[in-house]
Symmetry: C2
Amino acid sequence: MRCEVVAIGTELLLGQIVDTNSSWIGEQLALAGIDSLNQTKVGDNFARMEATLRQALERSDAVICCGGLGPTQDDITRDVIAAIMGVPLVRDEAIVAAIKAMFDERDREMTDNNRRQADVPEGASVIAEMPGTAPGMVCPVGDKVIYAVPGVPYEMREMMVGTILPDLQRRRGAAAVIRSRVLKTWGLSESGLAEMLDERMQELDRAGNPTIAFQASGIEGIKVRVTAKTDDEGSATALLDEEEALVRLVVGDHLFAVDDDTMETVVLELLRQRGWRLAVHESLTGGVMASRMTTADPTLEIFQGAIVAGGVSAHMGEAHALEAAAKARGRFGTDLGIAAIAAQDDEDAPRGTVYLGLDHDGGQHATTVALPGDRQQLRNYAVISLLDFLRKTLLQS
Amino acid sequence: MRCEVVAIGTELLLGQIVDTNSSWIGEQLALAGIDSLNQTKVGDNFARMEATLRQALERSDAVICCGGLGPTQDDITRDVIAAIMGVPLVRDEAIVAAIKAMFDERDREMTDNNRRQADVPEGASVIAEMPGTAPGMVCPVGDKVIYAVPGVPYEMREMMVGTILPDLQRRRGAAAVIRSRVLKTWGLSESGLAEMLDERMQELDRAGNPTIAFQASGIEGIKVRVTAKTDDEGSATALLDEEEALVRLVVGDHLFAVDDDTMETVVLELLRQRGWRLAVHESLTGGVMASRMTTADPTLEIFQGAIVAGGVSAHMGEAHALEAAAKARGRFGTDLGIAAIAAQDDEDAPRGTVYLGLDHDGGQHATTVALPGDRQQLRNYAVISLLDFLRKTLLQS
């Protein structure tokens, strides 16, 4: 099964927007075990879009076409796909009504241009998920298919997860229900994880259901996607639950989150359960931790704040990190303070040595990690390592 | 003149890395007035790379091929280009020596794989800039050309600016020397800027040299690229200086930076000249300002730190922003404190209303701006708006 990705939009070619959609889709396809060998960007030009989509259909079984479904004259994805299917566009009045309802809700006038968004190539079906005013479409072309989705990331993602990935699985296999679960791990290498799960993978290879795939995702760790194919929802969930339990047994607390949860949301939830609030001292991480935590907790319910500052200390090593963590806790009067400190030049520690410190009522915890990369990467790895250290400490408390 | 971009690497298709290189190259080409109508990602596979590069050469005059020049067996860009050129690879001993010198400097052993990086298709020339161990190459194919550059962003960028953009300009025109300058503006719309410069643009259209192009770049503002074609370096610089002066006359202090300078580096330099240090209070911006400033000033010479915190205030509107700015100044004992505060719900201000405050020895300054976007965009726009407000205030002090 081959599926390629075509991203539509002159603004992508001009570098006004970075095409993160194709990367995300590529990752989802890889986790689902579907080959994606080509990804292309093309501008809002009929001839070039048509040529690009036709070539993609020749090379692959399915094409995900992202963007160009908006209301303006530039947005011609609908027209190009209709031409490739050799069918006319038909206005879907149910979609017109759905779009109109959205405009009414926001007290805005619906224009004729917005009505164009309800035009669907004859024979195509509309994707049930429709978080915005642009409907997604499943467009059969012979025994192949073009999926058209909007370029707005959260709209595209909802359609991918709700309709496209299951449809691709259905086309590939025969099972009635296909469900996946992503288990996120931190602190393991891809080869290390593969080794730990080797025996189970061999069993699954023989049985064929569920299946497991790995994906290395940088500061998001290594993801394990489990996919189950069954006849009904209940037995799919049971298979996934069982497999998740087996993976948890093997990888232990390296598994930090499932599906949409992230390191931040998991840590925030653990703190919420305990009624604890958090502050951070940022010298090495220079505001990156605060920027991530305030995104996950915008009302500052749990995350109370950060001090971003340099500052000298009489302490070295882990004691320095503990001192900084205590400072943050003192400043914000929180239950917990945390800090990551890079080894100073005069400590003669290897490059990338970082001390993690955690200060709370019950006492202090510290550890030392070796992190890769340039200064910017080091900061990002320090943030995730510090959150993971906090998570593990909370789990043991 | 058409130039397309091919990004090489299976890790790009799998979504392990987001392809920011193509976006950056696309922006540079647009600013240089070169059409880039297709951008493609392809994995480390000989047949698919060859097909992709051949198709790109058919459609365009030049191809920038990014990645696959590393030392491992995956890295086959050299081999594929040699096949397309129909020539053998020849080991360039000068490059071997340069790579060996880099390894010696880092006290590391050079492997045979690294020697492979010195293999160059016969007839190709090596790009002078070589910040890493992967040499870039200019590979003529008939009257067309493939530029091969490494996927490491800073290595690629140095080669683009130093060799490839000038070479593309040379291929397009006849002038011996082609030089560009990017003038960065903030606070103007693209149409507003075009209107302001309309008369001058018309004059330049008639004269033909220098030329001017615009590029909307989101939170980086609108960029104006001036390109001069002349017979020698001196007169190119003179033309650019003259045009920059004219643009400055028209757009005034909306012009905030030139070429590699950014809003952060410009503000830091203005503070350095005055011997002033800066602190920020971040509630709305939640660490994003600190994260940017500590990246530009990693040793915290000028930027002393940030407090990331919510917190209630008796004040509303600009008075609230001034209070927060004074808090930051007090906490870090700096000459200046700044803060951006979003209008509270009970203020009944339009969505996106943000107050900017600046507290220093000489007094207080505040202003109100209306910013677009969702919460995340609002934060990014607030950071750049606050820095721009500080910049303008410094210029008038």
